[in-house]
Amino acid sequence: MGIRSLISLIRRNKERIAKHLFALSASAAIAAVGLICVFLFMQGLPAMWDIGIFNFLTGTDWQPDWTPPRFGILPMIVGSLYVTAGAILFGVPTGIFAAVFMAKFCPAPLYKILKPAINLLAGIPSVVYGYFGMVVLVPFVRENFGGNGNSILTASILLGMMILPTIITISESAIRAVPGEIYDGAVALGASHEHATFRVILPAAKSGVMASVILGIGRAVGETMAVRMVAGNQAVLRMPHEFIRGVRTLTANIVLELGYAYPGDHRPALIATGVVLFVFVMLINTLFAILKKKEGV
């Protein structure tokens, strides 16, 4: 078959070829998720099995250098929970009230300045937040609360700042999506603007607001660089009242040690840490997807 007839064959079938090319491209996302799952689980699960799933998840010692080494990630699981809970404490109420402000109380000229500012907050790289945390928040916490400043508290404040734009943006659009008739009805029944907003509109936007919170939580659990730069990173099981002391998260555990981990058992243990993180984040995202479906967006 000559080149010419090949070209004419392609020309005659270009519609069909294009369609298949587009469909093939659309499968790329499926392939990517498949590869990620296969490679993480194929290397992480056997490692968990070798360490013992119970020992791995509830062990309080992370000592890769000991003979035999100890790989217990309970301190990191708890660490991730602490800083995430802290981020919720600092970020969620502020974010929701700020979203209400943006949707219902903000004067138009002010909105034109605030909206791009919040978008920019969402786009600032995590190393820049981390750097800000190192040079501003760490000394602040050290001077006002004691300790050396690299602490659960510092990481919580920083993460709270970082999830603010996520919560504000998604909550704002959820509040705006509530039909105007609901507001009009409340006002017609004698409610004030504030009363209608907080007692009628906000409850109506509940699942969208919840979705924003869950997305913020997902971001906080997965955040690596900023947390690693301010949290102190000691792989020690902490109690909640030790909030001015350092803690290591699941993400920090990977980023701190993957660079030099030997392939024997240390690296697989880190991949297993990644599997635990992956499963956590997937659970959170599933919750988000369910809420989003409920909202009907």
């Binding site: 996302a29 290397q43 700020a98 500012a117 920019l120 600032i124 750097y131």
Partner: protein
């Protein structure tokens, strides 16, 4: 005049307080980084070689450009083609479409350190690419694929069906309609999405240092290692030996992000106007 109750006033106050905190966070972070960093920006920061005495950001800047370029080459066609299939070809609500949606959302939710871990064990170790431009670009392109797909999908859906009907009516096939009529109309929206994706790549660190690596020189070829601006920033911050350069690098990084955000919203406004 409607009667105001005390609780109304408290809530009203809380919204102002919260937006005040948000503005304070913005001013503090952006203000601090720029005010402390801009005075340290000097020509030596852009020297061709990065040395222990003068940690120039130039090699990292070049590394960033290479990673951005390569990952766009990989992810942009793939993302646009996928979106074209989902919007223009596939039956709405077919099982394939549902699976693609689900996996795209999954990709969007995976934390960057997990991408770094995956890129390291798959591209670096399994395929033997090591720490290289290739490993970095492939990893990052998977990360930005959902962003580009979503932006393209939304822009394609925003093109009125009358455009398509008109084109079909004149005898054009589906492919011709998509390429000649629908895509040009959707271009600004797609562009805004691509620019956001560039911002995401520039800000990325965790997925970069285990795939591209973190050495302070320019990559010589596709299988050579390097670093990006964010990785450079991360290293400077942790070493702590060059506070001036660290301040300046943070400011440069932030300025780049501000520029990209402005560009993206400028294009998005153009979309709305047209």
């Amino acid at each position: 005049m409607k009667r105001k109750k005390p609780f109304d006033f408290i809530f009203f106050l809380l919204t102002w307080l919260s937006i005040g905190v948000t503005v304070a966070v913005f001013t503090l972070v952006v203000g601090y980084v720029l005010i402390n960093g801009v005075p340290y920006i000097s020509p030596s920061l852009f020297a061709l070689e990065s040395t222990a005495l003068n940690p120039s950001l130039f090699p990292a800047l070049m590394g960033t450009l290479m990673i951005v370029g390569l990952s766009l080459i990989l992810a942009v066609p793939l993302g646009i083609f996928s979106a074209i299939y989902l919007v223009e070809y596939a039956r709405r609500g077919s099982r394939f479409v549902k699976i693609v949606r689900l996996t795209t959302e999954t990709l969007a939710g995976i934390p960057s350190i997990v991408y770094g871990l995956f890129g390291f064990i798959f591209f670096g170790v399994f395929l033997g690419w090591g720490l290289s431009l290739m490993s970095g670009a492939f990893t990052v392109s998977i990360m930005i694929l959902p962003l580009i797909m979503r932006a393209t999908e939304e822009s394609l859906r925003a093109v009125p069906d009358t455009y398509r009907e008109g084109s079909f009516g004149l005898g054009a096939g589906r492919l011709r309609t998509v390429v000649r009529i629908v895509l040009p109309a959707a271009t600004p929206g797609i562009l805004a999405g691509i620019i956001l994706a560039i911002g995401r790549i520039i800000g990325e660190t965790a997925a970069i240092i285990f795939t591209l690596g973190n050495v302070a020189r320019m990559p010589n070829n596709l299988f050579d290692s390097g670093r990006t601006l964010s990785a450079h920033m991360y290293t400077l911050a942790n070493e702590g030996t060059h506070p001036g350069e660290a301040h300046a690098t943070a400011a440069v990084l932030l300025l780049v992000v501000i520029l990209i955000n402005a560009l993206s919203s400028w294009i998005a406004r153009f979309v709305k106007a047209s």
